[in-house]
Symmetry: C2
Subunit: 255 residues, 2 copies
């Protein structure tokens, strides 16, 4: 397909790379960030534009990969009747696009996308379309980059899975970050925790996380928990998180 | 080396498999749990015993891989002068073993070990010995199963890294579990989150988790956070965790 990407951040970059890898043609990058847009245009051997008035009008599909708040701004300046237009936001209703074209929808990647990573992660894609044309085009595009994991989902289901994504990704990453700061202050090497982090994430492919809960909280091991709280005396913030999540495991552990 | 393993749970099983894979000889499994002991003895083509009085006294090293509380009980019935004896507990002082032999220590695997997994994860090993003989034997054993990640660590450092391990493993697994329950109740497919969970865990190999924090909390995106709290109305426990970790990200995010 011929694709125009609006945006030049993490989602725009990684989705663009996925589209290229799947053999699509990226006709144009449109972004107010001239430096980022030029860099992507160079990477993909295509053109860039910095104003929506200069958007190439000959593409099959327009992917708006900008921050949730910026979608409103983009929509004001975009009118593409006959074209398929989609945004990539988990928590924004597709109806925000209805004035751009009758063929609108959502193309939501359920993945944490960062342009600095050197690999392309696999990306489950949740799509939704306002009509048959939008649905078929977005489904076809999704299948081309994610044949195993293309999911038709309503606004509501997409928003719900986004909540779960925040829990398993943003919150766990924050726990990694707190542990890294703790290790730094205690002169420990955080990288020694990486095999444990990897194992904890990968083993739940085959088994429910409820069945593999380990540690002092689930064992109600008061001696170890007491010792840990003592070791966390100089880390009051992490200590408060430790107490809360230990209580949560003990309350919910047998759920 | 000739090894006796005391215990038949997760740590005993996975460490035994690692020892076998590294070419060591497991002389005997000692465990009160006759069924588990027999199963491991069969797996490793060796002998099992159910009483400490029957322990084989000809091994080079004795690995006590039982729960923290049970170490005390094992120690009461064990006297192996001249032998190297170590326990595998992150949070238990090595001195608990001093009456068993003058050559005692700790052999702590910094990994979440579950016997039902079908692979052997890589396991950073923290060792400590009471004297040269214990140190050298335990270091050599550790290097044989974990050449990249054998670490000499004091009681105190081992206990401190154990706290960090609880945070990055037990607590993140609990977040996965809460998300799984939420998905079940909302008729969503939890397995669609697995690529995101994997990417979140693996990308911090090359970059600090502070630098890759994403999501509505770090963006101070009040609209999305409000929408998520609304969607969590029927999930009061997960909602309280959502609020606390969102606040933590916002307070600590720029630390």
């Amino acid at each position: 397909m011929n694709i125009v990407i609006i945006g030049s951040g993490n989602a725009a970059t990684i989705l663009g790379r996925k589209f290229k890898a799947a053999g699509h043609n990226i006709l144009q990058i449109v972004s107010r960030n001239a430096t980022a847009a030029s860099a992507l245009a160079y990477e993909w051997d295509t053109e860039s534009a910095n104003y929506l008035t200069l958007v190439n009008r000959t593409a099959d599909v327009y992917i708006i990969a900008v921050s949730d708040d910026a979608i409103k701004e983009v929509v004001k300046d975009l009118y593409l009747p006959g074209k398929v237009v989609a945004h990539t936001a988990g928590s924004v209703d597709k109806e925000i696009l209805k004035k751009v074209s009758p063929h609108y929808g959502v193309f939501y990647p359920l993945q944490s996308l960062r342009k600095e990573t050197d690999h392309l992660p696999s990306i489950p894609l949740f799509f939704e379309g306002s009509d048959e044309k939008a649905k078929m085009t977005l489904e076809q595009l999704a299948l081309s980059v994610s044949p195993q994991n293309t999911i038709s989902a309503s606004n509501e289901d997409r928003m719900k899975i986004h909540v779960a994504a925040v829990v398993v990704s943003n919150f766990t990453n924050h726990l990694y970050a707190l542990a890294e700061s703790y290790c730094k202050r205690e002169n420990l090497d955080f990288s020694q925790l990486l095999p444990l982090i990897e194992e904890t994430a990968l083993r739940i492919k085959g088994i429910s996380p409820w069945k593999v809960q380990t540690g002092p909280a689930i064992r109600h091991d008061k001696a170890t928990i007491g010792q840990h709280l003592d070791l966390l005396k100089e880390h009051p913030h992490l200590k408060s998180i430790y107490v809360l999540l230990t209580e949560s495991i003990q309350q919910q552990g047998e759920a």
